[in-house]
Symmetry: D2
Subunit: 319 residues, 4 copies
């Protein structure tokens, strides 16, 4: 608890962008940054960093987080059967979805986590998020913001040799330190430098393993992830956002006994950091391992669901 | 009926990209096109073309299309109350959504409309879309495809003077002809040229009016929109996709007595055209009217919901 | 406000059944009452008092109350098409529903309404209902309770002559007074006597009108209903529950300027009264008007949804 | 397959109640039957036969059958916080549910299962159930029907001694034969006689075990249940409905290699039998084992969801 408070104080951005700010570290992405990001598009290849949204996902119902339920209200079988009632051979299919906003590839909005009753920028949690939603930092406020330079740090690949791993996949419970991040940057080269306004995507390899071996406890169980000690590194680098290929972005089990997601508690309400979870960096990583270029234009806009504290999305890396 | 069949035959792309094709006109977007599109990013300004996703939308329940229902499973009021059961001052908010995939800004996938029992590329409707979803052309197949050059044709602005309109908003029931499209291009200038692989966004102004005056019959009622006669124009120009600021893309009431969305019936199953509806081009249009530049890099990726026949999205125009 | 406080104090049942009570006025139904109720079954006719649960209902989205969305996950058209994958000619249909618990015929649970931050029996509202649901008086606590004698008071029929009404339907805005209730009992006769443990069903006729003329503002608009002045009458009679054929049980517009459902505020948290809304008493009323017998065995069990503050149900009157 | 066809032919009720019939074996419950049932109410005790409806249920997502997701749209914590915007101290809580209709205690409607493309009474499956729902035998057609005499056969208790079971719970995979049913009736005595129009509730004890040991594979895995050979017994007895405490009513694994629910295929489309699943007979069974009386008035009305092929319910046994 004391560690968390100290770290929160050290990395706190409250007031940095004015008392009415709702964007936190997204403020680090300016227009010049986006022009630079677009200049990274050289071959026109696009990589979707989204996992699937379907009933085969990893969710297990924890805190009512289920997998998406997608159902049809009209179908092709109905159309062929002739039961739809449309004229001149017209037929249609339509569908509906019911899902937690955090069920698959997602952004945590700034109203997603609180620290001792306080939300981003020092606001009272209850003033921000009621059962009517987040009336202050709802994800719709970021609708046109999250386009910029993305940098992929492939920790699975970068650390595999040093750790004697058979595959480019960190083991569950592995805490990625700032030194590990630096080592990955050094190994990957200049295109992997991380600085102000960048969107950092960290590949641990856990998703790769889960796809091969089955989800197991992917949703909430042991996982590689960022160490609590990464908070100052992220803070000092002034990254705009961080995303991983894991359920919870930080290492699990958490590093303190009895703790629950302490890095979230520092990063979201105190730093105002956008956190992405359950991303799928694998095709991008394969390509980058081949061509040695680890940055790309990243288009990672959320769906502007009014008052949402998170959003599903399909992030694209464009090279 | 005869007109529809004739037009379908005239604009049919079945087999053009092989019998296994699932992308239709998205095939017109190649990698070179994306590199060119990225070169349109000059100032780094971003415009979200999404309408809001919330319970205040225009849906009225027709064919079970309702507005989104977004509910919280954890809140800030609970966190402040101390009832969440987390340690060390950690608090959280989480949420769930239930919505038709066509409730707000969306793409129609290729499995959305059938013509006489046939889906895109000549497949039987029932083989493509059952109540388990679209097993062939599900929207996830387009996850990494829809990034390219967007062109905004602001028909409301372009035709306002000629029609003696007080505002840059076409009246309900106005059928936009190919000649109107050409006139808009001519008026807007070189940046508005529309060609192979472009994503065409048509602003009618109906959305602007609906936001000012109330939704009224926005969902399914009379609206300006493309004339049935636009099918060959879109076909010959080889556009990759078309989107409008209206519920249904084509003019309503439809141009034939007793017809229902005949342009859909030609465009989606026969041309394989991606159609966007309920987009919000207004901020982009304002900016373009000012600077005279009507094209932009457009990132309009769908959410990869497995087997979906459409997808909500947040399209971004980047200048 | 003062009137509400005074009435709340006058009708308060806090502590009457112990500090741990979760049933409120349902305590008035004892086993002897149920045996007597069963003795009312003489001909075996059953009347469903439920309105339909479907997308054609009256809800308009107020506070996210929509009509039910019922979708199929398997269909007969799929089964005939042969796409389900089952052996030996087996086929199936399955379905899913998404709905507010108060969308159609329902019970208000005791956690549904609070008075100045207090729930039934004096508990703090926040201790009872969080975003995880009602952990104290959840509707599942009443799962085996609501079987007893039902009495139908048909105010529409009883007052029609005196008010010069063309049909047996009270006009919107009509406030039913205790005197009106007494008059109906007198007119209907001995079988309409209302006493301890009875479940009172009041027919205003608004539902009949809505079915004939369209829903209009049935959900939340002007309606006939119980006057605020009925609180002591219900309290003194020791009824177990009250249900009406209207959206909101009490007269609307409410009788005080700027008030919102003041009778609810007295009845639910203070009296611990179970309130039923959007019931359909019409077939029962027709039958009772014919045979002159206005009581019946009433089986009105809720669905035991853990932690729910209300429940959809299908109440049956058995004669 | 041949066995199924033969059995289907042997037990077929098509046309028995006319070609327009939608009620099947519910026709066996007549008004006299209900009067007799009401006469079984002697002490007024009520037993809810429903399992809980919540996120802790046994569903695992098979064919998109998930556990219910119940969320709040207003809460007591919000009310105490003062964020609801109501006048004079009024506060409220409201809720929403999303669930498969077969997620917990339920009736299978007559449109739930097909045999070689045919639904109840010989109708084509596709004419009955499209993605718009069951337009013929929707569960709402049974809204006022399912009240009658219930008989509990406690096979777990009846067979425990003979099988040398430690507890009154049949092992998974145990196929209950007609002889077992007869033995239970004999052991339980005259109140357990099963005849025309009765609603038969069979307790296997699997639910008891699941509550003690965890759900395990309760949803779809091995389970005790009725043998395929029970079809003629049920047919000849002319029962109105059968319900069990298991996921799937019949024994699992099914008795034929590669078969899937063959008893369903005979019972629902051919006999027109109403089948209840996932009921909780335990408190009723305990009481009946004590007082030796195994019949009761049973009120098992479905929720009238228009076009549904099944319904959640809270069945009550009243003694």
């Amino acid at each position: 608890m004391a560690s968390i408070q100290e770290m929160a104080a050290r990395c706190c951005n409250w007031g940095r962008w004015g008392e009415n700010d709702v964007l936190g570290t997204l403020n680090f992405i300016d227009e010049a940054k986006r022009v630079d990001a677009a200049a990274l598009v050289r071959t026109g290849e696009v990589f979707s960093l989204a996992q699937a949204f379907d009933s085969e996902g990893p969710q297990n119902g924890w805190r009512r987080r289920t997998n998406p339920v997608h159902t049809m209200t009209d179908t092709g079988t109905d159309a062929e059967y002739g039961s739809q009632g449309f004229p001149h051979g017209f037929g249609g299919a339509d569908d509906v979805i019911s899902m937690p906003l955090q069920c698959s590839t997602q952004w945590d909005g700034l109203g997603h986590i609180f620290d001792r009753g306080r939300a981003w920028n020092g606001r009272r949690a209850g003033e921000v998020v009621t059962s009517a939603g987040d009336s202050v930092t709802g994800i719709e406020t970021a609708a046109s913001r999250i386009v910029g330079r993305g940098v992929l740090l492939d920790l699975g690949r970068a650390l595999a040799d040093g750790l004697g791993l058979e595959r480019a996949e960190l083991p569950d419970g592995f805490a990625i330190t700032p030194e590990n991040l630096e080592a990955a940057i050094e190994r990957q080269g200049a295109s992997a430098e991380v600085g102000r306004g960048d969107i950092l995507v960290v590949r641990t390899g856990q998703y790769t393993r889960a796809r091969r071996e089955g989800w197991g406890h992917y949703a909430g169980g042991p996982a590689p992830g960022l160490s609590f000690a990464c908070a100052p590194w992220l803070h000092e680098r002034e990254v705009a956002a961080v995303a991983t290929d894991t359920w919870g972005f930080e290492v699990r089990p958490n590093e303190f006994n009895g703790a629950f997601q302490p890095l979230h508690q520092v990063a979201i309400p105190n730093m105002g950091l956008f956190v992405g979870e359950m991303w799928n960096p694998d095709s991008w990583a394969e390509h980058s391992a081949d061509d040695g270029r680890w940055d790309a234009m990243l288009c990672a806009q959320p769906l502007p669901i009014t008052g949402a504290v998170g959003s599903p999305l399909n992030p694209l890396a464009i090279k």
